[in-house]
């Protein structure tokens, strides 16, 4: 399968574990000199509370269209960029990847800027939610607009 020289190569919301190696191979191309990979992973502590896992929910059709729009806007700003974005939903264990962003470019500055732009914008406007599962047995939806006491 041939892939285009640049642009949005792949955007998806998935329930299976993210296959980072497969996504990296999608981003590769002969003209690529820099590949920036961002992974968001589930950590075992948040605000001092021990976390046992994380549950992600998405408004999937809108999440895909917003992710695609963000990816296309980023490619519109950075000529020659190749982008791959995948976000997982469902219940994840500590250490598992919830999101992967791969930005490939001829040069490192563009690749690294693009990966950062996509994750920051994703956090602002893609309809995805997460509920932390605590070791205590409690569960709580995360609201980034609230400052916790």
């Amino acid at each position: 399968m041939t892939s285009p020289e640049s642009g949005v190569l792949h955007v998806a919301i998935v329930s299976a574990p993210i296959d980072v190696a497969a996504l990296l191979s999608r981003a590769q191309a002969p003209g690529v000199g820099a590949v920036s990979l961002f992974l968001g992973t589930v950590r075992d502590l948040n605000d001092g509370r021990p976390v046992s896992g994380m549950e992600y929910e998405a408004y999937a059709p809108m999440a895909v269209s917003e992710l695609r729009a963000i990816a296309e806007e980023t490619c519109g700003r950075i000529d020659g960029l190749r982008l791959v974005v995948e976000h997982r939903v469902g219940t994840l264990a500590i250490g598992e990847a919830s999101v992967a962003i791969i930005a490939a470019h001829a040069h490192r500055a563009q690749a690294m800027d693009a990966a950062r732009d996509v994750i920051e914008t994703l956090k602002q406007r893609v309809p995805i939610w997460k509920r932390e599962h605590y070791l205590s047995g409690d569960r709580e939806w995360i609201d980034p607009t609230k400052v916790r006491a």
Partner: protein
């Protein structure tokens, strides 16, 4: 008319449902819809002006809503 509204995450928990059927007089706007939803059981847990998407696009509260639109109340997003 009756408008279907999709709920997610904390809002789905608040109403104990993933979809609401909301009776409304036409014509109406997103703000009218939200006002009615806030009077329904569980509606006290909604903010006065929640984020709303119509047909999978973010909209301001002055947007008209029509039967057949895909309307979603969107809790504060927390992807990543």
């Amino acid at each position: 008319m009756s408008i279907s509204v999709l709920l997610f995450a904390s809002y789905a928990d608040a109403f104990g449902a993933r979809q609401l059927e909301v009776p409304l007089e036409a014509p109406c706007q997103v703000a009218d819809l939200v006002r009615v939803i806030r009077t329904m059981p569980g509606g006290d847990r909604l903010p006065a002006a929640p984020l709303v998407a119509v047909n999978r696009t973010w909209v301001p509260e002055a947007t008209a809503v029509n039967v057949g639109d895909e309307i979603a109340l969107i809790p504060p997003v927390a992807g990543g």
